[in-house]
Subunit: 386 residues, 2 copies
Amino acid sequence: MEPGFYSRRQFLQQLSVNAGITIIGMEGISMFSTLEMAEAAEPAGIIESAPQALAAEVPRKLGIALVGLGQYAGGQLAPALKETEACYLAGIVTGSPNKARQWKRQYNIPDGNIYNYDNFDSIKDNPDIDIVYVVLPNALHAEYVVRAAKAGKHVICEKPMAITVEECDRMIAACKEAGKMLSIGYRLHFEPHNLQMKQLGQNKVYGEIKKIKAYNGMGDAQGWRLDKKLAGGGPLMDVGIYCVQGVRYTSGREPIAVTAKEGPKTDPVKFASVEQSLTWQMEFADGMIAECRTSYSEEMNLLRAEAERGWFELSPAYPYSGIRGKTSDGPMKLPQVNQQARQMDDFAIAVRSDRPTPVPGEMGRQDVKILQAIYKAMETGQRVEI
Amino acid sequence: MEPGFYSRRQFLQQLSVNAGITIIGMEGISMFSTLEMAEAAEPAGIIESAPQALAAEVPRKLGIALVGLGQYAGGQLAPALKETEACYLAGIVTGSPNKARQWKRQYNIPDGNIYNYDNFDSIKDNPDIDIVYVVLPNALHAEYVVRAAKAGKHVICEKPMAITVEECDRMIAACKEAGKMLSIGYRLHFEPHNLQMKQLGQNKVYGEIKKIKAYNGMGDAQGWRLDKKLAGGGPLMDVGIYCVQGVRYTSGREPIAVTAKEGPKTDPVKFASVEQSLTWQMEFADGMIAECRTSYSEEMNLLRAEAERGWFELSPAYPYSGIRGKTSDGPMKLPQVNQQARQMDDFAIAVRSDRPTPVPGEMGRQDVKILQAIYKAMETGQRVEI
């Protein structure tokens, strides 16, 4: 459909993934001819023995439709989809005719790929749309993921996956039944500094981790995020979830129990239906402890692991850009990337090559399970096993 | 048994791994009480609700017997076994009564745990020995791994695993039949800088890798390493194998074909039965190329990946200590570790908790397969598919 979107190497790689074909591309040949060989080596024979590349159709970029054109879709995902190599912004789903007109113009989206919430299910007949990305308020995730799966589309769902574990189960089941892949929008699994935390922690580079501190708070939450019916909770659901994730990928372990305590409400009107701030602790079978905090009225941004022979941390740890890290040996020197572009490209390549996503629905479900346990601990004042 | 070798945390961790028991240790409790809690939080409830640790037997360190007391066993493994936490030097197997006396004295090894190559098989009756570590010349690996497995012991085998793929198959089959674990002595899978290369490469932190350069050479090879019957080949078998491994773990991919060229012999007497140096190239399905060199008459030590958006390298890459790394963003800041201690502890923990080793026999077999293809390419002058 979109020939020419792929570099020759990407094409060859994808072809080999899809078809299991053994290919030596032309780049390989030209690389060989310019190898900085040892004085003793003689590359001529190599060039002569390399086969020619096969001719084949270039695979098209997969089309993504964004469902819900809020701040994250407009500010992050749509711009990222200009940098993706394996997928592109093919369609939108919105309840606002104004937004539809604006996005159509800004992103050159054909009328046939613009849906509202009433006619959304007819997306099943649209071959341009391979992947539906649900970016709606949390309480609507389950419905739209299930509808997308029933429409025969692969699905990305923003975090938190849903507001109950039962919803997560229905979402996973629906995608499984449809034979479609489901991933959660955990962009930090594609971010170099967070990957580094995972590497250092899971490989025990500084020995066993004894304690993790994970804090994530923002001072300016607005809109549906303050409405428990839509958000399923307060800052824990929206930003505290990064702490849960961070602890899980840094340690490679699962908490066995949680305790939690709600912070005071300095603005009881704004925070009428959700917590304003929350501190909680996660316990692990080996004695490791994670100390976590979240807030909608205080900026905090930290992921720090303290291990037997050193420490490693990100501060800030979770923003869209500008993440910085250091260890007890010195600063991390790692590149900044477009997290959302990497995340969506990885899912598109996973779909195309039929390999698992590293951020599947099951991962999202486990986070929701932990979040629910934290709320239960907060409400009861009791330690809650997971 | 050796009660007291384990810290309380290690004990709790191991217990939970072995028994699937949910435990909150005393450390957890004391950590909670000293948490730097948010002002709003109140830890008292947490302390009261934490259960007491269970009483249980502390697991003992696993006993390792070294088979073959050469330079690597004496210079690296035995000293490392003084730093291990999950295993210890319990026995030795040597053909030299002099060495037996010397090691017995130096490492306090009881007479009952000292074997020679004739009575080696009776090690099956020795409950002190859980793991046999084969550190013999390459051509003897297969025999002793098979005999160790038949004696009911878990096995670590030094690299290269063997000198033919058929031997590797027999070794894997023998351990499988005995229900024992087999790992290869790939210490760099436990070394922070090499783990970092793997992380940066496999997660595509700098995009797709286009080229890898892997050079490993030493100037002072001696003894059985120069005897093709015992070593199975020259520098490729002993040090070039690190290049093959480095390319594999940095890229996460498998070569599809190789070309190779032997270097000139400046000392044809010393290198009568093996190559003095060798350059080879490995081709990958996506067009990536690995350029490799090895030598017994030139010091070289490099692992460098050139990717779409940057590069990352170790120089030196493969020594027992002093590995240093940098990327196009700056120096890697990572700790130095005792590689062999980490490697052996990891295997002991894998055995105890019945989880797979990250460096299994199958990994060693694939390297041997590639090494054999490189020799075939060297001898025929042809490109050899793998």
